[in-house]
């Protein structure tokens, strides 16, 4: 029930520099920044990833998820339509659906058994007409006014997004062509979920947004390839983004890793060793596509990453929990027409990614290393000039450009521009 709209106070904190090349550390540490993000971003004109349709294929299938730190339910109605609503009872605020996922024609709150249908509409109110000694609800009680708070929902190729914003642009416009294409590429065939991975990182969620838009760290932080001689000097990269530069997508073309032999020269001695894998079956995959792309990373503002790394396919849902903590929720999938061997290959390559991933475990560590170091000096800045800064920001395409663009978009939504 709402009486008044939340008043969004003017920010008492500094924002990024206009070009996005300087970001005050306090944006990663302050509770009031985090609270404002929940209103201005996650409740704002953005599309938030919430689930894959493959996770709720049948009528009345549901899955609980989050938009920012607000718990929601994603649900498929009897007619197959998709819905999302806040998982908070319209009566006195209890969590309605306590299961992580399942199939339910009704979502019933345990406290007083108010029941909601698969669209979040109130369909059952015990004692509504009253009982001796307690009375019921007034005659003018209107169940329609007491449903669960609904979000708009849009799905593209089975990737489901939700938005609190009344005027959020249509999903395809919000994503824009290059991102739509990136999704189309991976979701052209029906997918099947193989499982999930979760990690709790003691760092600010935006540090992960930066990380997935950061080409600078790849070969420097992640040593697996170079150590095992899997680094390719001859690889080609291609990137793209939307008009607003909120999102980013990039692919890497490359030979099969097993053919690589040269260890990387990355201007430092960390990875000079040149082992080869004692058990090379780890990397024995089969191309899923004929375009020669071995790696594709797509970051969609605010909280989605979609990956293809060799035969590993996954969405990563960044779930902010507090200024200094987020959950990274991986939904690992394959294609419905995968044969047993292909599934086995994907399960084995899962070694590469996730919380124990041979080529990914470093990211969360780097983020925690930052969060620990910025406990003070909130007015000091992160320095993002790698790639250089052209006068015309539309030409800003090199190095950390994608991160700078992220911050410019962020500043706009937060009223910090």
């Amino acid at each position: 029930m709402s009486r008044e709209a939340p008043a969004v106070a003017p920010p008492s904190f500094a924002g990024p520099s206009r070009d996005g090349s300087r970001v005050p550390f306090e944006l990663f540490t302050r509770a009031d920044v985090f609270a404002r993000e929940q209103e201005a971003i996650f409740r704002g004109p953005v599309w938030n990833y919430v689930a894959l349709e493959a996770e709720l294929p049948e009528p009345c299938d549901f899955k609980t998820s989050f938009v920012g730190d607000t718990p929601i339910i994603v649900s498929r109605a009897e007619d197959g339509s998709l819905h999302a609503f806040v998982n908070r009872c319209a009566h006195r605020g209890a969590t309605v659906q306590r299961q992580a996922c399942g199939n339910a024609r009704q979502h019933r709150c345990v406290y007083h058994q108010w029941a909601y249908n698969a669209r979040g509409e109130l369909v059952g109110v015990p004692y509504r007409r009253g009982v001796p000694g307690m009375g019921g609800y007034a005659a003018d009680f209107d169940p329609k006014a007491h449903g669960l708070a609904r979000l708009r929902v849009a799905s593209h190729k089975g990737v489901i997004f939700a938005s609190f914003g009344p005027d959020t642009a249509p999903l395809e416009d919000y994503l824009d062509e290059p991102l739509v294409a990136a999704i189309d590429r991976l979701f052209s065939r029906p997918v099947k979920v193989l499982g999930h991975m979760r990690q709790r990182v003691r760092g600010n969620w935006k540090l992960y947004s930066e990380n997935t838009r950061d080409p600078y760290h790849a070969a420097l932080l992640h040593g697996f390839h170079a150590t095992f001689g899997l680094y390719r000097t001859n690889q080609k990269r291609k990137g793209g983004s939307d008009r607003a530069r909120a999102h980013s997508t990039g692919v890497t073309f490359g030979d099969d890793w097993r053919q690589a032999s040269q260890s990387a020269n990355i201007g430092q001695d960390k990875f000079v060793t040149n082992y080869s894998l004692a058990d090379p079956t780890l990397l024995e995959g089969r191309p899923d596509f004929n375009d020669g792309v071995t790696v594709s990373i797509t970051s969609i503002f605010p909280c989605l990453v979609i990956q293809q790394i060799m035969n590993t396919l996954a969405t990563r849902h960044i779930r902010p929990k507090a200024a200094d903590e987020f959950e990274l929720y991986w939904t690992y999938f394959g294609y419905q027409d995968d044969d047993e061997q292909m599934t086995a290959c994907r399960l084995k390559q899962a070694n590469l990614v996730g919380p124990a991933g041979l080529i990914s475990m470093e990211d969360s560590e780097a983020i925690e290393l930052i969060q620990r170091a910025i406990v003070r000096d909130g007015h000091e800045d992160s320095f993002l000039e790698f790639g250089g800064l052209p006068a015309d920001l539309d030409q800003d395409r090199q190095g950390e450009a994608t991160i700078r663009a992220f911050w410019r978009y962020y500043a706009g939504l937060m009223g910090l521009a």
């Binding site: 193989l194 499982g195 894998l277 004692a278 079956t281 959950e327 041979l358």
Partner: protein
């Protein structure tokens, strides 16, 4: 328990404790040697168990693959420095046939950071298949099923 079963139990317990101590003493290179050559080691989040085959976050189906993992941890990977402590308890032999033992146990793993503060890192169950190889017991299979399927930060050292 018969005297025989009894001795088998003691030997299995010794193997489980040895496994834990090698990891806690950072003797990672010896870890694969506790498995048979085609040994399997997996870490499976409990929430993934309802789907079969279950998605693991750490997967080795050969000793060689474990060797690669250890090499990677030593040479390539960056992870949080810490002391680990693997506590193994509730060791049960669920079945014994032809010298092959199905064993269940509880594990509790703690991590202590460089400031000396300890946190509970992971709790779960070992589901092991232990067999007699070259005169000593070894793991044919060790599945660590994590109750704690939300991994704090990252998982580097095997559970």
């Amino acid at each position: 328990m018969t005297g025989m079963a009894n001795q088998a139990y003691d030997a299995i317990r010794a193997l489980e404790y040895r496994y834990a101590r090698l990891l806690d003493e950072d003797r990672l290179e010896e870890w694969p040697k506790l498995f048979v050559e085609r040994g399997v080691y997996k870490v499976i989040p409990r929430e993934n168990l309802d789907r079969q085959p279950a998605l693991a976050i750490f997967f080795c189906d050969s000793q060689a693959m474990m060797v690669d993992r250890v090499k990677s941890l030593r040479e390539a990977n960056v992870y949080n420095f810490h002391y680990s402590r693997h506590v193994v308890s509730n060791i049960e032999i669920l079945s014994a046939r032809d010298g092959i033992f199905e064993v269940a146990a509880c594990y509790t793993v703690y991590q202590t950071d460089l400031e000396g503060q300890t946190r509970l890192f992971s709790v779960g169950q070992y589901r092991d298949v232990i067999t007699n190889g070259a005169g000593e017991l070894r793991f044919r299979e060790k599945i660590a099923v994590c109750d704690t399927f939300n991994i704090p930060n990252l998982l580097a050292i095997p559970l």
